[in-house]
Symmetry: C2
Subunit: 219 residues, 2 copies
DNA sequence: TTTTATTTTTAGACTAATCAAAATTTATTT
DNA sequence: AAATAAATTTTGATTAGTCTAAAAATAAAA
């Protein structure tokens, strides 16, 4: 049985290696966990001992198949709990992450499978992130940052690349959420801002930051 | 912020002092937590330092008002989660305790108030135990162990005084649960067994143990 | 290819929670 | 009231997780 802390390290390594699949450095882990490099080294040795990571001194780590499986299930639990909090308890998408950080460590396979059923087998969480299946498969979708779209295109919002409360609340205020339709009315090359029509109701100028962090697909 | 362990000690002291309201001894706590008396002493000193218990060397402890409030809220969370697991996720009453033991430590007042609403402000948990309100009030009901009832009485099952899986499963097999109606057909004084009619459907002989642990009220 | 800078590990120490064994206090018998 | 028994605390250790500071390895620059 893994501790809370061990689980968090595995999830952290998973997130850091998700895209590249390269080994991740001690310092990179220390940075995101907010702990010292010395603590990270200690933990990596422990995880290596348990064969959850492949660790080589001074060379960084990557997850073993077992380690990856555990990390994936943590992500599954985290995202299913987020769906529950939003869909069933009426939380908004900027309020759920911290609570899900705690709930993801509850140890019961049956619980999470029942929850999955109860929620209607959702494929994506409230932030548009895919929920891995019990066997660890992620649904892949066509989606691009909105700044890659062209003038005149009609888009649907599929996700966000930033999860900060401030960012999510800002989108809320603009009535932009997962599923919102956007039409690109103008692209301003000088500052990368875009004027978009939101859900065919109102026009809004969006800054470069938002345009890069909104994930969309053409419809 | 209290640790899991500190919370568990408070809940344990609460349960041990609930009825009598007397000070509880180090050994009594050690017995139910399964830890050594030495560990209990250490923890009591820590809780006293935080003013959550009133502790006197060699004299035992009782909860301070703050300590009692925290313990009550833990009980509230535990029981609300049990209702959720049974009512919403379809768990049976013998499966929920261990999961609720973990869930009760999730730290979010908003979560538990939303959950309470979502569940329809339940007053009792799946075992018939009262769910304290956010302000710490327990609903009190008239209820007695079934062995105190008389021949011919019609009763409704309100609770159980034992929560073991084996006991709860045994009741399940007899179709006895919270709300079940029972009519006392015979009381056998020689062995304290009773013959009861269950939900006006079938007759069953119940042994002394069950008769003492079933909490009922006349209707 | 040395030298310097950066990264990573090791060494030593701290807190929380735990235990067994020894010491102390309280309770119970003689 | 003294002796004995039982309960409780203290002492000294252990494990998990953490840290800072020193040492070692690797990477970058001269
Ligand atoms: Mn999240
Ligand atoms: Mn999410
Ligand atoms: Mn319970
Ligand atoms: Mn219960």
């Amino acid at each position: 049985m893994l501790s809370f802390t061990e689980e968090n390290y595995l999830k952290c390594i998973f997130k850091l290696t998700e895209k590249t699949n390269h080994r991740v450095s001690t310092n990179a882990i220390a940075k995101v966990t907010g702990s010292s490099a010395a603590s990270v080294t200690d933990m990596l040795k422990k995880l290596a001992e348990k064969e959850l990571v492949d660790y080589a001194r001074y060379k960084g780590v990557h997850l073993s198949p077992t380690g990856r499986h555990i990390a994936t299930q943590l992500v599954r639990k985290h995202r299913l709990w987020e769906v529950f909090l939003v869909d069933k308890l009426g939380f908004s998408w900027d309020e759920v992450h911290d609570i899900a950080e705690e709930l993801e460590h509850i140890k019961s396979d049956l619980l999470i499978e029942r929850m999955d059923q109860f929620l209607g087998l959702p494929k994506f969480d409230p932030h548009g992130d895919p929920i891995p299946t019990a066997s660890g498969k992620f649904t892949i979708r066509q989606q691009v940052p909105m700044n890659k779209a062209s003038q005149g295109q009609r888009l649907v919002v599929l996700g966000v690349q930033e999860h900060s409360k401030a960012f999510l609340r800002y989108l809320d205020n603009l009535s932009i959420h997962i599923g919102t339709q956007l039409v690109i009315q103008e692209k301003n090359s000088f500052d990368q801002s875009m004027k978009v029509l939101i859900d065919d109701k109102h026009s809004q100028l969006l800054g470069e930051h938002i345009c890069k962090k909104l994930l969309v697909n053409e419809i």
